[in-house]
Amino acid sequence: MNPTASSEPAAASAIDVSCRRPLLVLLLSAAAWLVIASAFALICSIKFHSPDFLAGAAWLTYGRAHPAASSAFLYGFCLQSGLGVSLWLLARLGRTRLAHHWLATAGAVFWNLGVTVGVFGVLAGDRTGFEALELPGYATPMLFIGYALTGICGALTFHQRQQQPLYVSQWFVFAALFWFPWIYSTAQLLLVTFPVRGVMQSAIAWWYANNLRVVWLWLAGLGAVFYLVPKLARRELQNRNLALSAFWLILLFGSWGGIPNSAPLPAWMPALSTVGTVLTTVALLAVSLSVWKTAGRGAGPPGALENLPLRFVRFGALAFLVAGFMRVLGSIPPVSNVTDLTWFGPATDQLNTYGFFAMVSFGAAYWILPRVMGLDFPWARLARAHFWLASLGVVLLAAPLAIAGVLEGLKLRNPDNAFMDVVKATLPCLRLSTMGDLLMALGHAAFLANLAGLAARFYLPRAASLFSSLTLDLHKPAGAKP
């Protein structure tokens, strides 16, 4: 079922109201974590050219601030905003209210508690040492309960849908909903609770990181893309079957990846990982073709702010393609001999997580929240500034890092280049990427300000009227809302 095929269902506003509280909690705290993450990322970035910057305190050393930034971003922002958008999509596309929406709200509270405890643990020196799974073990129960509550709400909403035929987005979002608990429990059990021996730790950590940063983010992000693009371009989704084949390809081949060719593991593992990664090319092309045919030519709706979500989503779709191809390239042995263990990997990762997933999430938030709250964002100009800051920031972050990675890799191939000279050669690129980090941090602050402003705009009059009704007329029931 295509979201543009029929006029707005009668229940749309009721659905939005049922999503209001969980979505506000999820997206507002996601934005807050995003600002925290980019503050830490900025500190880390500065340390590359001034290593003495904030070096005195243990909790601000690079090896703690860096995992704090990446965990706050991945768990605080990505998973949280992904869940929020997914819940709304499941409710809207299923033409049903959010089932037991208090479950999602409670889940969000637990989740944020877990991330908070975890990030403080990382800063205190309790990081696990496994990339993408840095939050210490004692944060896990809270995270797990938080996800379970939110996920159950999503699954129940999916189950009670009023519309039997499924739209493409529902496939992606529903698979993502189950993907995370499986990979997280495997990684948590085998790496932290009952650790496996030797390099198996690295193999599982790579498997988990790939499943989280590639498969989960792709599933959740593309679910939003396939809903928003037809909606915003006011055209039906073209080549629906291409989108569905992308779903199957990502499911089948996406999770066979992430193991670097240099890994001290049996040689078949990196080889298989390369094959799986290369096969995702087909998915990349299928998604891009489908999105391009739907929104490439079609003009967005008139009005600047109306157009804004589409700009975010288009940027995200482009970054998806570029990052996906960088990932494929970086997995092929002749290239990976140069790019492995250099800045090229982080560049690919940043482009995928920030350039694709975060940008799509921003677009979704700018589209969904005004509907859910029944109000417009307070500062339209700030939102437009956010788009320019974020897109310029991502480009300034990822492009110099990719260049630095190739440069570093090529220079390291020649043993006559002293290591310090190689490091120095990458410095100009690292300085540029600090600029990117700074622009992104400013953009994220603008995003948080707009979200907080919207929440204030919604709740302040209600609080004021509640206060006056309580003080003026004590006989009126306190819970009465306009």
């Binding site: 290593p51 696990t128 030797g198 066979w256 298989l272 191939r413 043993p415 490091v423």
Partner: protein, 316 residues
Amino acid sequence: MNYGPLLFLAAFFALAGSWFGFVLTPQAQVGRLQTTNMLGGATLYPQARPGLARQGLEVYRANGCADCHSQQVRQSGTVCNAVLSETGTNLPAVLAALLKLKPALSEPDARQWLSTLPRPVLEGLKPAEADAAVKVLNGAGAKAAVWIVPVGPDLARGWGKRRNVARDFIFDYPVALGSQRIGPDLANLSARQPDAGWHLRHLYAPRLEVKDSAMPPYRFLFERRKVERSPSPDAMVLPPGLAPPPGHEIVPKPEALALVAYLLSLRAEAPLFEAPLSVAPGPPAVAPGPTAGATAGAAAGTTSTNTAPTNAPATP
């Protein structure tokens, strides 16, 4: 396909496939690796790191050293060298054989060449070529052998003698392979820089030891305190700009000593079946973990005697 349960099963089986491939199968293959004999000897490898070094790995993890330092030496392949170790008694025959193998050499040069043995006659050969060369030399009564030599940019840089293999890490938790080389690879750090004093000074003020280093200082691993009755033997010897005011001294905290013990236990050069290389006979060229770690603890106590880095590597 419009049914939730079917969609659920599809996702489940897709993920179960990759779980089977990348979690279960490798666990069966390398999940229970044990110590083994080194090639050409009865020494067991690897040995568990000593206690202090194991505590050091915790410091390494907590402060994210692996964010900037990999522990994965890569190798692009192996070549064979024909190595002459003894001339034997029939010197003219050996000279003739040598000149046949190295036509560029003149006879006086060849005599000179033979004075420092063992040394490779021909390098970078295929196994069959190396066998042929060795046959020529042995036929002349000399003692020659084929040496297996791993090659690659990392090895040429002096970061190790062979690639890292799964067995190098069986006793580590967490395994700190790292994903980036913002700093140099550390898999064989103790072979390059065995001086504990150097490591302590480098942790306290990296640019003291390595010019323009991008490493942040780790001064929170050190303690500045008043000198009590007599200065501590552990006190750091620092240049005027960094030295504490008179009456004070800077000593490494236990974490710093543990971290240095761990760094000095980093050495993975043993010749193994899965990563063969030839080592010179005589005193064992490979010191397994415990020896290095044990000396680390002892050496860490003698930092006051450190004056200048004696064997600082060219590319630390």
